[in-house]
Symmetry: D2
Subunit: 335 residues, 4 copies
């Protein structure tokens, strides 16, 4: 009941402090009999790791996934799947000053108040490293919904903006996860400059989902839009969520909205209508700035690395809702 579990029928529990022994996750609700490939899982993790994207942090985290349970002879068993990642490249000494200091915007002070004790090294449980547990869970959710395609991409970062059409025309948007890949050199320079200044920048991540069947979402409170909102806002640094036309709705009249079905963003009455789903999130700038940023090894912008985390949450939510929809059919259930 301490907020460490996400989801109902497809659910996962995460654990681990960034400077403790290991981080990890126990995923529950994965169907039996699915093909499991450790290399695919590792590739998902690598998308998230720092140090691989020039211009972002220069920490190299060798995040190797170790699967402890729930798979056998290359297939899932239907039992809980525990995966851990050992903490190997954490320079705890960097954080010694923080034993008695609180970084603004981080959970340092609020965590100390809440628990009366905290692991001051690197943000403890509230560290960005916690997101690797989500990416692992997302990998398994993805095994359950192969017909659904989830594409998250940066739609705004500093001066750079991209649209859904840009995404549709793009091939491989790594490493920045920004659709206009011809801008990659510019982006690299921009990020390195921010870093040198001890500055940081936020932005927007948009998500396009195709292949979602009709009927997902559980009124009144577990509407699909509500569960998306919760899952995405639970990501560190996320400060807003919207779907369809989102905030633009405040400027329109009813007739203008109803004219195009896609203005509803794939969700009507809180339930998926079978059309493409469009979601948008806003992330605030990384809070470690100025002197501390220059000393440490932080991201001037976490958006590129947040993209796989965003996709993972969306996958988990869809897997959960599909299981819920499958549970409830019409009429008798003992045939």
């Amino acid at each position: 009941m301490r907020g460490n579990k996400f989801g109902k029928l497809f659910s996962f529990v995460t654990f681990g402090e960034s400077h403790g022994e290991a981080l990890g996750v126990v995923v529950d609700g994965v169907s039996a009999g699915l093909d499991f490939d450790l290399e695919d899982l590792q590739r998902e993790l690598d998308r998230r790791a720092p140090g691989r994207v020039a211009g972002t942090t220069n920490r190299k985290e060798a995040d190797r996934a170790e699967v402890l349970s729930g798979v056998f002879e290359g297939k899932t068993l239907g039992t809980p799947i525990a995966v851990i990642v050992r903490n190997t490249n954490q320079r705890s000494g960097d954080y010694d000053k923080l034993k008695t200091e609180y970084r603004p915007g981080h959970a340092d002070e609020t965590t100390q108040s809440k628990y009366g004790i905290r692991d001051h090294r690197g943000g403890g449980r509230s560290s960005g490293r916690e997101t690797l547990s989500r990416v692992i869970a997302g990998y398994f959710a993805g095994l359950m919904i192969p017909k659904i395609n989830i594409s998250a991409y940066i739609s705004k970062m500093g001066p750079f903006e991209a649209s859904l059409d840009d995404l549709k025309n793009a091939k491989n948007i790594a490493p920045y996860n920004f659709p206009l890949t011809e801008k990659n050199e510019e982006i690299k320079k921009y990020l390195l400059k921010l870093k040198a200044e001890g500055e940081s920048v936020g932005g927007r991540i948009s998500i396009h989902v195709t292949g979602v069947p009709k009927g997902l979402g559980e009124p009144a409170f577990d509407k699909l839009k509500a569960d998306f909102a919760k899952g995405l806002l639970s990501i560190g640094a996320c400060v807003s969520f919207s779907f369809g036309l989102g905030e633009e709705m405040a400027n329109l009249k009813g007739s203008e909205v109803s004219s195009k079905r896609e203005n509803f963003g794939g969700i009507e009455g809180g339930i998926s209508n079978g059309e493409d789903i469009f979601l948008t999130t806003t992330f605030k700038p990384t809070s470690t700035i100025g002197e501390k940023a220059k000393e440490g090894r932080h991201d001037p912008c976490i958006l590129p690395r947040a993209v796989p985390v965003v996709e993972a949450m969306v996958k988990c939510i869809l897997a959960d809702h599909l299981l819920r929809q499958r549970a409830y059919g019409d009429g008798v259930i003992d045939e």
Copy 2:
């Protein structure tokens, strides 16, 4: 597990179709020994009812609350509190055409797909009347947190905009729940005009919360911002949520954000920091437009009536988190 329950330690289950026998709620987790006043509850309900605000719908719903359990001699017992509201003024005949028609943007078609059956009269369970159950739950949550003050207000509706400062200068913002009350006549004309045109408009509702103690919110997944997002997005017609600077964060640098503590909107690391909390939601225009709107008795804008619903959800979430914070103290628990 059908999404009919909200909350964990302070929770409630809602039920009722808009043209069924009654709507209602069972509220669980209300402390024992609180003073209960039926007239106060009724007043909260009245804030939400249609037909009381000129320019909005002319349906008059005599929503009388009947408390069936959980209170005794003017005090709460700590047992579940069931409250119902009979459906008395529903003109089912108005909806006969809808037995085989789906209104765009409503849950009609998605509900039919999902369940294979639906009560076509007035939106069934997905009707706006479902929100009265939330308002009732919010009343009881409010009894548990008298030191916390929650003020929701319309910050944008058509051409009308208001700020937090406007709210601070306002006395009583009923009936439109818009801070610049000198505009009330203009608003009335504007809404009546929309109605005559068969049009509708959306807008934004902002929320200002004071008196929240430090330490509320449960990382990693039940962060306070995540639970707010879910509770608010679960309201029909709500299409976005943000806190603090929200979407504006996408345009700022780290130094600009950290300069003012209130840019964090009262939440850091997903946990309340003891400062005022600022939230914003966007609502889309009412989906019944054109001919159907002129025939029926719909709202050209639901925002005034959504304000008490928004407050109710925020109250329920804060009561839930305060109970959770109280459960977990340090050290031994059997003293």
Copy 3:
């Protein structure tokens, strides 16, 4: 989180004090499209009511079920089903002395300690009348599992004992729910005598279930036997649960047990094996004895009336597990 909800995918929340306005239940997870018959529901309730069985209490409770939501044109909608029963025949005056007295074995004192307040009339929420909410929930669970047959019967009450074979040879075991119906006159005399003496007696209720498919039960903690144990022990006055050979297992060797498959009682490894299920529960004697019993209108033995409550709980547990089993299939879920 106050223990007022039972079940996960098929779940229900109960409410109501025995001398409050009404008791009731909100049932969640009932499939859409099932045929609903109010008279059948009423018949189930009548099996439980006091005053209908000679020799048991002479209170007549006119328990009329009122369905408030979740059904339409004779079919379930898949939305929450709220049913209430008004308290009409409660003689609150009988309990005035109890405002400051605690009846031994009842929840009076423990409830006062726990909540600091209680409705002293008739046992408040802990009254036996709470069981009618369970019977209502059981009715709806039964609609979902028509192929499963659940028969509960008294296997011991005072000097009277019956076996499963006796049950198989019996036609209609009402009103005492004891298989050897030729003993009914004797039983009536026995109970009236106990009542006159201000005495009470307990006994055993056994349950025989047929038609349960293989595979129900969720290791490690929601094993079918564990959920049965919880549901049955939650009934007031129930003091033990066992399945298969139960306590007799303590006297046997492994070879003796394995020799007959039915010794496992239909459950192996906590999962149903497709065979008949055999459960047994013990109920303690009614706690109101002596003077208070003679003044009031209590049961010298609650077993006949507990039988439909026991069946209801077993039905709810099986419906819940069938939904859970249906949710989790193999492989992909978005076909």
Copy 4:
């Protein structure tokens, strides 16, 4: 939702197949600031391990606990505590025959039906090794309730019987956890003889709890007796639960029961009354008998090793209920 989680406010999730990489548990709800001692945890685990009790299995399992998260500088952080135990001494070859065979009374066949796939080695997830995860969780629950004392002991095993008085007179009841320690040599001979014959025996484990405050238990469904029943019946091989006089209640009249308060076993109306709590469970004989038993390395009686598992479950349930009781106080909660 697959039954892998136990508890609400103090909860834990277990994982691991007996022949997979590791078993483990993630414990949630442990208060921050408690003293943690790895050696104490290891000692608890050792009580459960096979191979240490002459006459029981000769498998030696080197169960070393590795704590991965949730503790720092010898204290709990209030964050999830993950502990794993690597599987080191599992002779998978022993089980090759079982790829296509089902052992009666085990979960082999029911698991295959349920999931369509299973890890046939050693019982997979349903193995007795799963209980070490429970013992670990029980260790942490124990840190939270130091004033409560839980003593489980064998009250019947084959020809050996002991009473609560015998327990009170005993000093250290290891290794058999049977109070009449002067019988230890006899017991050893008895068990070795059973093993040689390929036989097995079940028995009863009783539990005596002191120091439980009044008021624990949440009517209507999470009564303390109901949660005890579920937690204990969830242990493999457990086939019955009772409290107070248990099944003996079927033979008594009301006056006989009310005469001694301890006949209620410390629970009235489903809520603890502050008196000592008495619980009893029955375990069936180990299912591997005959040839398979002689070849393998099984227990002729699991009762000695089940005693710490029983204590662990009772601790977890009490910690959970104490947290729930602490959450709900009277009146306002924002002081």
